[in-house]
Structure formats: structure tokens, C-alpha cells
């Protein structure tokens, strides 16, 4: 197992290297000006700025300068948000995104598994049909449609929750719910499908034949196996929550890392963009690894290669 973790972490290095290289070179070769999008900057000032940010000379030179810094853990200074290092911006915004993301993921798991299990026991009954229609709707409503509708209803019409912002506990409720709904819906569908398959298996019949209560059969035996696809989904879901939060954070004015990504790409800020992409990729790889390990912990029959 340690060998697997080590190997996967080592494999991550070339992937991250490719991602950062690709991003940096692309942003630098784009015909945009990282220092200003509108006004023309005099040539001498431009030259001075480029020197200051290590963006002068040939592309190869700039790239080497940047990669040397990255290798030392320094992601550079943002050209868009002057005087702030990328490290500093990430350190400030990432915890916010992670708080929101983990709460949303917890909600998605809680509601997804509960609803999926409930629907599976009532297979093909009205309750099952209804829940699955709701789940399909949850997958189909884009988060940027859902969030404004929720704001209109709960914050403006009913006035029970704040419209936007970050800091107090009540401000996290709406964004977390909006972020979690598509994932809760997917998890519910996965749980239902997999539980339906599992309930037909022999060991469930044995458990029932032993005289176990239906609850014990369901929770102690069947659900343990049926949860496996949900774990498999949790890696990609983490990625989805990370990207999904770009929209939610923008809409709710949350000081997370999401809005920085779009703004830095739009402003051709090479350091900020590469830095944020590096963070996203690392998280993605890490979550995929965690999901694989969890898979192994739950089901010992899975071979780790």
C-alpha cells in the first residue's frame, strides 16, 4: 500500500509538470498584456515592469525563470493583483473554498445515500419514480440557474437567509446547498442502482434467511457493498465540486479561489493562472488517489496495482 501511494505520488509529478508548462506557455504566448487590458503602457515602463516580474527576454528564458521559482515553492507575484504573491492569495482563498466544498460534499453524501437507499427499497413504486425524477432534475438544472432562483426565493422573497457574503454561519447555507444538489442527485442514482443489484445477491438472501431484521440486512450487509460505486465517484466528484464552486463563489461573492481562476485567465496573468491550475490539478490527483485507497479499505477484494 505504501508502495502504491508513493508510486502514484511520483506519477503525479510529470502530470503537474505538463499542466503548469502548458498553462504558462499558453498564457504567455497569448497576445494579451498581463499588466493592463485597456490602456497602452509606454514602452519604457512596460520594459521595466517585465523585468520586475521576470517576464523579459525569450520565452525559454521566462519559462526557466518561472520553473526555477516553482521548484523552490515560489509561485511568483500576481501581475493582476500587484504586490500580492500567488502563494499568499492561494493561502487566503483556498481554505474558504475547502470549507464550502467539504460542507457541500458532506450534504451531497448524506442526502444522496439516504434518498438512493430509500428509492431502492421502494423499487418501481411511486416514491421511487418520484425521487428519481427529482434526481434527474437535480442533474439537469445548471448550478448558475439554480443558485439565482434559490436566492430569489429564500433571500429576497422569504428573507430568511442572506443574499451573499461570507463570514457568518448563515451565509454558508445557500451556497453549500446549491453546490451539493447535482452531486447529491448523482450519488442518489448511483446508490439506488447499485443497491438494487446487491439486494439480488446470495449473501443478502442468506442474511435474511438467518432471520436478521430488514434494517440489519440493509445497513450492515447490503449498503456496505452497494456504497462502492459511490466511493469510485467521489474522486471525479471532488473535481466537480472544485470547478462547480467557481460559479457558486462568483454568484455569492465568496472570497474563495474560484473567481481568481477566471479573472487571472481573462487578464493573462501567467503566474496566478499557472498557480491556480497547479492547485486544482494537485487536488484532483490527490482526491482520485484517496478514492482508490478508500475503495481498497472498504472492499479488500479489490486488487491494488
Amino acid at each position: 500500500m505504501t508502495a502504491l501511494i508513493l508510486r502514484r505520488l511520483l506519477q503525479a509529478i510529470p502530470v503537474l509538470f505538463i499542466v503548469v508548462t502548458l498553462t504558462f506557455l499558453l498564457v504567455r504566448s497569448a497576445p494579451g498584456n498581463p499588466f493592463s487590458t485597456e490602456k497602452k503602457i509606454p514602452a519604457e515602463i512596460m520594459e521595466e515592469l517585465e523585468k520586475q516580474y521576470d517576464l523579459h527576454g525569450t520565452m525559454g528564458h521566462q519559462y526557466l525563470q518561472y520553473m526555477t521559482k516553482v521548484a523552490h515553492g515560489n509561485l511568483g507575484i500576481s501581475t493582476q493583483y500587484r504586490n500580492r504573491t500567488v502563494n499568499e492569495i492561494i493561502a487566503q482563498t483556498l481554505p474558504v473554498s475547502m470549507t464550502l466544498g467539504s460542507l457541500a460534499y458532506f450534504l451531497a453524501l448524506l442526502f444522496g445515500v439516504t434518498c438512493g437507499g430509500w428509492a431502492a427499497i421502494r423499487h418501481n413504486q411511486a416514491g421511487d419514480r418520484f425521487l428519481m425524477l427529482i434526481a434527474l432534475l437535480g442533474i439537469s438544472i445548471p448550478s448558475f440557474v439554480l443558485a439565482p432562483v434559490m436566492v430569489m426565493i429564500f433571500a429576497i422573497k422569504l428573507n430568511v437567509l442572506p443574499v451573499a457574503g461570507w463570514g457568518s454561519p448563515d451565509q454558508i447555507i445557500l451556497p453549500a446547498i446549491c453546490l451539493s444538489i447535482p452531486f447529491a442527485a448523482t450519488i442518489a442514482r448511483l446508490t439506488r442502482g447499485s443497491l438494487l443489484e446487491v439486494l439480488k445477491l446470495d449473501f443478502v438472501r442468506t442474511a435474511r434467511a438467518k432471520g436478521l431484521s430488514e434494517d440489519a440486512v440493509l445497513f450492515r450487509h447490503a449498503l456496505k457493498v452497494a456504497i462502492l460505486p459511490v466511493i469510485g465517484y467521489s474522486g471525479p466528484a471532488a473535481a466537480g465540486i472544485l470547478t462547480g464552486s467557481i460559479v457558486i463563489e462568483t454568484l455569492f461573492g465568496i472570497p474563495g479561489i474560484g473567481p481568481f481562476f477566471v479573472n487571472s485567465a481573462l487578464n493573462f496573468d501567467p503566474f496566478m493562472t499557472s498557480g491556480v491550475v497547479l492547485v486544482y490539478s494537485s487536488f484532483l490527483i490527490l482526491f482520485n488517489l484517496l478514492a482508490d485507497l478508500l475503495y481498497f479499505v472498504v472492499d479488500r477484494r479489490v486488487k491494488l496495482e
Binding site: L26, G32, S140, P142, P148, M152, P236
Partner: protein, 297 residues
Amino acid sequence: MRTLGLFFNVVRRDPLFIVCGLFLMAVVGLALVGIHYTGYTYDQISDASLLPPSRAHWFGTDVNGHDLLTRTLYGAQISLFVAATGTIVSLTVGVTYGMISGYAGGRVDNLMMRVVEIIYSLPTLVLVIVLVTSLDGPVAALLKGAGVTQFPPRLVLIVIFLGLTEWLTMARIIRGQVLVLKEQAFVQASLALGQSHLRILWQHLFPNLTGIIVVYLTLTIPAIMLDESFMSFLGVGVPAPLASWGTLVSDAASLINPIRLYWWMLIFPGGLMTLTLLALNFLGDGLRDALDPRIRK
């Protein structure tokens, strides 16, 4: 033919299928034909700004006095166009890649699937945003040089890159099918008769894959449509005065305030988009259930 027969089987069992199919046809029809009978054009501005739905403007008007019904139908054109062409790109890449990987087998297969796994672990949508914003200028120059003016460069880039992100699932599934199919007697027989690999792939394997391709086609279209609107929403999508469902919803969201509610700007484009996605997902789901031998009883 088998796919067609199967399709009718599914339809017979579930009347909701017919409803979804008719709904999608209606959306396409309205977007292509109905848009000319609204009495306005999509970029026609007027002083009638932010009017609620009325007899003159069925869906109301937006900030610039655009007729929202016309805008919504125009948004449907763009969103459906991006989804359809992006799906063709992803379909071509995914099917070709999966068939080669599965048919070649061994080391080639191993390498090709590793590549898929690596792309899976990249933040694809995030990279698409970077690619589209940075390549916007160069591609604009390229298109101008080639004399192509009817497509905005952004739109071309979005179609290509979204297509290139959504082929992974297709490739994996096609590869799995080919792995099974290539061991079957009819493939062995064709090989023994001396048919070329290319002919076997095209004439014998491809027809056996059409069913599963149709299924994943219906699931890729909503995925790409969602991605496009997500990008448009974030301001890296189609540029104004063009509009997609994403930009329309984005305009509406920016106007949300506690004093006045412009609900029609959000509900009409957002609702139509949600219903379209719902219908597409429903069709795809139903077809997959019907085709997947593990679920089919």
C-alpha cells in the same frame, strides 16, 4: 436496424419518451423556424427596457430592450449548435481512439488508456477556459486570413475544446466493447479470409457499436451544452451581441437585487435550458437502460 427496433421497444414501454422527443423537436423547430415569426431580431435594441411579459413581448424584455423570446430562441440556436458540433468532435475522437486502443490491445492499448487516465486527472474545464481565452486572438487572425467571417473565433474554439474534453468516457466504453467483439468468431473469420484491419474495424466492428454510440451521444450532448453555458456564464463564452442560454442567465443573475425582481429574465431562458437538458438526459438514460445487458431483463 437493431438500434431502431430497440428504440421503438423503449418508446412503447415509456410514453414519457415520446413527450421528451416531441419537446426536443419543438425546441429545435422554434429555434430554427419560429424565431423568424417573433416580430423582432435578436440584436434589435429598443427603449422598452426590462418590461415584464406582455402581449407584445411574450417573455418580456432585457436591459437593452431586446425581445427576450427572440433572444431565448437565438440562445437555443447557439447552445444547440455548440452541443451538436462539440458532440460530433468528441464522438469522432472517442470512437476512433477507443476502437484503435481496443483492437490493437497489448502494449498500445495499455499506453493509450494511461493517456486517458492522465487526461482524466487534469482539470479539463479549467484548462479549456485558459485555452479558449489565450488562443482567441491567434485564431481570430487565422480565420480572418482564411476569409472565414461567419463564425466568431470564440465559438469555434469552444466547440473544438469542449469536444476534446468529453471524449474520454466514450473512448473507454468503445474500447471495452471492442475488446469483447474482436475475439468473436466473425472477426476471426474475416481475419482468416485476409481482410485488412481497417476493413474489419469499419465494416464489422463499427456496425456493432452503433447502439452504444447512440446512447452515449444522447448523454454527451447535455454534458457539452452544460459546459458551454457554464463558460458563457463566467464570461468566457460566446461574445455579445451573440447569446447562448448561459449568457442570458448570467445577464439575469447580475440583475438580482432586493428592490425589484426581474424574474422573467431568469425563468424563461433558465427554464427552457433545464427542460431541454432534462429531456436529453431522460432519453439517454432510458436508452442506456434498454441497451445495457446487465440492466436489461
